[in-house]
């Protein structure tokens, strides 16, 4: 399926998109995780000549999605940037000025190590560990549960960090690994938005749901 599929969580409608974003209809908000902006630039600055094309494509895809949903707000569940500042991030800053109406919230991930000034300049609200939005809690790494209050723990959690993927096995020993969205009853893990990332294979259990992404196609598996 090329079109996004609706998925209801705690009475709210989320559109799951093969473009690796989650669109929250009631709040007109887009959710992503693990963009790793500036990754190729970081490699290149260290003298490792990887192509920049994937970064440019990631950014373009993000912009296209924001236009498509006409979202008011973008929530990033961590690892927005990859490492120290580099010129690739300037490309984002230039684009940010054209989208000044958009509110951006970032819950810091382990890769988000830029100086505070940078986030101020980029007009990004930074949340150090978690952020609440309605009946939901956004954090980067699900493993950080002990930092949460009991009240937080009751909320449905959205996280990134894992770069989840799913292993499909067919007859005759055929197999395929695909990035995916991964939803359980308590939490949902977003695929890495950047395509310049690896995958961690998840094995969905009972009552759990996975949307596998193959190119432009989305396949729900349950």
């Amino acid at each position: 399926m090329k079109n996004p599929l609706p998925h209801i969580i705690r009475g709210q409608t989320f559109w799951v998109s093969p473009q690796r974003v989650l669109y929250w209809e009631e709040e007109n908000t887009m959710l992503i995780a693990d963009l790793h902006l500036g990754k190729s630039g970081h490699f290149r600055k260290a003298g490792i000549p990887v192509p920049q094309g994937s970064q440019k494509a990631d950014l373009q895809r993000l912009i296209a999605q924001l236009y498509f949903y006409k979202a008011d707000r973008l929530i990033i569940a961590g690892d927005f940037t990859h490492s120290a500042a580099n010129k690739e991030l300037d490309l984002f800053l230039r684009w940010r000025r054209d989208f000044s109406g958009l509110q951006i919230d970032l819950v810091k991930g382990n890769h988000d190590i830029l100086a505070d000034d940078w986030y101020t300049e980029a007009n990004i609200r930074v949340h150090t560990h978690t952020m609440r939005a309605g009946p939901f809690l956004i954090l980067h790494d699900l493993k950080d549960q002990r930092k949460l209050s009991d009240e937080d723990k009751k909320l449905y959690q959205f996280a990134g960090h894992l770069h989840p993927g799913v292993l499909l096995k067919g007859l005759a020993r055929q197999s395929m690994k695909l990035p995916c969205f991964y939803f359980t009853l308590q939490y949902g893990i977003l695929p890495a938005f950047s395509r310049f990332t690896g995958q961690y294979i998840v094995k969905p259990g009972k009552d759990e749901l996975v949307f596998a992404i193959a190119g432009d196609e989305l396949t729900p598996l349950h």
């Binding site: 192509p51 010129k87 020993r173 395509r195 190119g215």
Partner: protein, 849 residues
């Protein structure tokens, strides 16, 4: 050697070929200084001794020192490799020993030092030991490049000293035309000749001895000795000579035949069931070397031998490349002294100085090639005219046919060639970075040197320009949004100024040989050895694995070191080292096909022992003769199998499987996974495979081969696999270094991910194209595939439909690597796979569905 000539020394092991080159250097020195050679100290580096294995250095050094003592020569030897201490390095920097024993990687590390040319200014001879091992590998290419630099350096030193009228224009700005490149070596050649004549006449003024660096290779017998010499001497542009020892050694091959062949496994790699038959052989002979193909299996063998014969404790040792140096040296010393009854080893003891007490050699599993087998056999029976005795221990039944085939090959004197590597751009990129971190380079100056090597002699200008663009600009970039800047270019001089980048590069140079290797230490302190990161990365803390004959519990990885605890666990995971698996050579494959001719009329003990197996194969299916190709189609619960047995070796089978899968997939949409071993390959599908007597010859046609090769290579994993190696050597994969912690992780990326990124955004990248080219050169070699297909066209294709798995197909099915190829639509494949996918849950929460 007295006349500054260069060449190649070839002789079987155990007859002093090592000494021939070494003594030549000394004699030359004594001739040059007949009166005072015993007084001259600190002469600078005279002989550079390149050896592929660190383990060999200590032995060679010891042997050389004893010669100095006897001659009263006040020379020093030094060792330079990954094990050399910083203190020794500093000492060497201040005063080079007369003889330096070095590995190819460390040779390049010397070139990465500031002011390195001065180290080589007195150099007379470069010896390349075990050249047959280096040739055909990227480390051999490293040697070629380093030689081209030294030869050029020393010919410049020389032309500065000779009359200026003779020295031709060395214009760095000259255009890079082929003609000039070709003409330069000729000029060097005549120079050498002119100068070497007066040099041999003793009337030359002694102070001004000209530095004619000569190059000598030392090689065991291989099929292409002349080419080996040509590659080595290419930078000198000399013909050189081949010095051949005129002695032949008799080798006797004895197979260890299982008592009950019916109960012996049809598949496997270990052969441990026959361990009890090894004990009497060990007991009967003074010292026995037991060669195992991979390090992991050698660990298991060592343990098993101790278990079944505890008396051997203290008299048996385990030797492989991952074991701590001190322990290795201890083993080698005790081997010399005859104190060890047996040593379980891998290729780590293939080479080098001979251990005289060794009387017997046991080869476990297929040696994969005639040359390797002969070399190993040569490790025993060192007295001239002694017979080398080698036992062959099969790891599964069919392997016994290999023993019969090896006997044939030895009788017929068939031996493999080692084709040299061509246009390895990854190694060249690494080399240019090496020059850039030391004294820098001028492209127009190094290009003719690079083209003086065999590897790069046909490099087109266009490729060179692409490569320079890639390393200086980092390929196409987003202009003002890019930070790539590696080289400082001042006055045409390319240099890396960043100390951090330079340090990182030096760390990186050794990576050609190995995957990322991590040190293994006890938590409480104490070094055990090294292990591949690939293996460790799949372990969870608490897992137990075996290294150096010990069971170890994995605790954690810290700063490139694996911390472990001793473990008493009975079960452990044995590391699978990637290095161990060699494909069968073409020669041995051919012998194997011919051996099968006699399968049902056996004339050797091996074939006789295999009678029950061949009868069963004949009953269920067919035993192919040399002019037949057997194809078996079998249906099991896994799906539909098609087995093909060309006996051409694993690499060729992988290529052939890909091409055949591609051709079948054009008949109708179908997905395959395929597997191969040295005897044949398997296509496996979830639907019947449309191959029958109406289309089978067509599927194996040599027509359109090139086009089909191109298409099938694009749709399989072969290039991706090659890219791993290429990306590491070419500097795309950063392995981290001590002291750099968190930030270093941000520079890590898997080769597979990089392969995806390059495939999508820079498919024409020079390293990508090299990965594909390596597949073409080594696996998809058109000539060999065409020969094979033509052979098949002329032979009889036998199609069988056995009702069950056969002895031939069993090893392929149970134990081999797998790949995919599909002509079905992605969505159809996913649909089929998802039908079997279930989370077995209620779906109340997911109201959207």
């Amino acid at each position: 050697m007295q006349q500054g000539e260069s060449g190649l020394v070839n002789a079987p092991t155990g007859c002093g070929k090592t000494f021939s080159v070494f003594l030549g250097t000394i004699i030359r020195f004594i001739n040059d200084h007949p009166e005072n050679y015993q007084q001259l100290k600190n002469n600078g580096l005279l002989l550079l001794w390149i050896t592929p294995l660190r383990a060999l250095a200590a032995d060679i050094s010891r042997a050389m020192k004893s010669v100095f003592d006897e001659l009263g020569l006040p020379w020093q030897t030094g060792i330079r490799n990954g094990d050399t201490s910083t203190a020794d390095r500093t000492k060497q920097k201040k005063q080079m020993p007369e003889v330096l024993i070095i590995t190819p990687e460390s040779f390049h590390l010397l070139l990465a030092q500031k002011d390195y040319p001065s180290l080589f200014s007195n150099l007379q001879t470069i010896a390349v030991d075990e050249w047959h091992e280096l040739l055909g590998s990227k480390r051999g290419v490293q040697v070629e490049l380093a030689l081209s630099r030294i030869v050029s350096l020393n010919s410049k030193v020389k032309s500065q000293k000779s009359e200026s009228e003779n020295s031709k224009n060395q214009n760095p700005n000259s255009k890079l035309s082929k003609l000039e490149v070709l003409s330069k070596p000729d000029q060097v050649n005549t120079e050498y000749f002119v100068h070497s004549v007066p040099n041999s006449v003793s009337s030359v003024v002694k102070k001004n001895i000209l530095k004619t660096t000569s190059i000598w290779g030392i090689s065991a017998t291989i099929g292409n000795l002349d080419e080996a010499k040509e590659v080595l001497l290419s930078p000198l542009a000399q013909q050189g000579v081949i010095v051949k020892a005129n002695m032949s050694k008799r080798t006797e091959l004895l197979s260890i035949i299982p008592d009950e062949i019916e109960k012996f496994p049809w598949a496997g790699h270990l052969g441990i069931k026959l361990a009890h038959q090894v004990i009497p052989i060990i007991m009967q002979s003074r010292t026995t070397l037991i060669f195992i193909n991979t390090r992991g299996m050698s660990e298991t063998w060592y343990q098993t031998l101790l278990d079944i014969c505890p008396d051997l404790a203290g008299q048996i040792a385990l030797h492989h490349g991952s074991i701590d140096r001190e322990l290795r040296e201890w083993i080698e010393e005790n081997l010399h002294a005859g104190k060890l009854k047996a040593v379980v080893c891998t290729a780590s003891l293939d080479l080098g100085v001979d251990f005289r007490p060794v009387e017997t050699v046991i080869q476990v599993g297929s040696p994969k090639g005639v040359a390797r087998f002969m070399q190993r056999a040569g490790r025993s029976g060192h007295q001239p005219d002694a017979v080398s005795k080698i036992y062959f221990l099969p790891t599964h039944s069919l392997e016994l046919t290999e023993a019969a085939a090896l006997k044939n090959a030895m009788e017929l004197d068939i031996i493999e060639s080692r084709p040299p590597r061509i246009l390895c751009y990854d190694v060249l990129i690494q080399y240019l970075n090496t020059l850039a971190v030391s004294d820098g380079f001028i492209p127009a100056e190094v290009l003719p040197e690079i083209r003086s090597t065999f590897c790069y002699r046909d490099m087109p200008d266009e490729e060179w320009e692409r490569l320079m663009y890639f390393i200086t600009e980092g390929g196409d970039a987003l202009q003002q949004y890019d930070d790539y800047k590696k080289f400082d270019i001042t006055g045409g001089h390319y240099k890396i100024l960043s100390r951090k980048l330079a340090m990182r590069h030096r760390m990186h140079i050794g990576t050609i040989v190995s995957d990322a290797m991590l040190k293994v230490r006890f938590v409480s302190g104490g070094y055990i050895g090294v292990i591949e990161e690939y293996f460790i990365s799949r372990l969870e803390p608490g897992d137990v694995f075996t290294l150096a004959g010990r069971n170890l519990e994995f605790v954690l990885i810290k700063e490139m070191t694996v911390l472990v605890r001793p473990s008493k666990a009975k079960k452990s995971i044995v590391p699978s080292w990637n290095g161990g698996r060699m494909p069968l050579s073409a020669n041995l494959g051919k012998q194997l096909r011919e051996t099968l001719n006699r399968a049902l009329t056996p004339d050797s003990p091996e074939l006789k022992a295999l009678q029950p197996l061949f009868s069963l194969q004949a009953e269920l299916s067919h035993v192919p003769s040399a002019n037949e190709l057997l194809i078996e189609q079998i249906e099991t619960k896994d799906g539909f199998h098609l087995f093909v047995y060309p006996f051409e070796g694993r690499l060729v089978h992988e290529a052939m499987a890909a091409i055949l899968a591609y051709r079948i997939s054009r008949i109708r949409p179908i997905s395959f996974s395929f597997a191969m071993n040295d005897y044949g390959f398997e296509l496996l599908s979830d639907q019947p495979i449309p191959v029958d007597d109406t289309n089978v010859y067509e599927l194996f046609t040599p027509d359109n081969l090139m086009a089909d090769i191109q298409r099938s290579v694009n749709s399989t994993e072969m290039a991706r696999r090659k890219f791993r190696d290429v990306a590491v050597i070419g500097g795309l994969i950063f392995q981290g270094m001590p002291g750099e912690k968190k930030k270093a992780r941000h520079l890590q990326s898997s080769a597979s991910l990089l392969f995806n990124v390059f495939s999508e955004y820079d498919p024409e990248n020079i390293l990508m194209r090299q990965a594909y080219q390596e597949v073409m050169d080594q696996q998809m070699e058109e000539v060999r595939l065409r020969d094979m297909l033509e052979r098949i066209q002329e032979s009889k294709i036998v199609l069988e439909f056995p009702g069950q798995l056969t002895p031939f197909c069993f090893p392929i099915k149970v134990d081999s690597m797998r790949e995919d190829l599909s002509s079905e639509k992605l969505e159809d494949r996913i649909k089929k796979m998802t039908e079997g996918f279930t989370t077995k849950g209620t779906k109340e929460i997911h109201k959207g569905h």
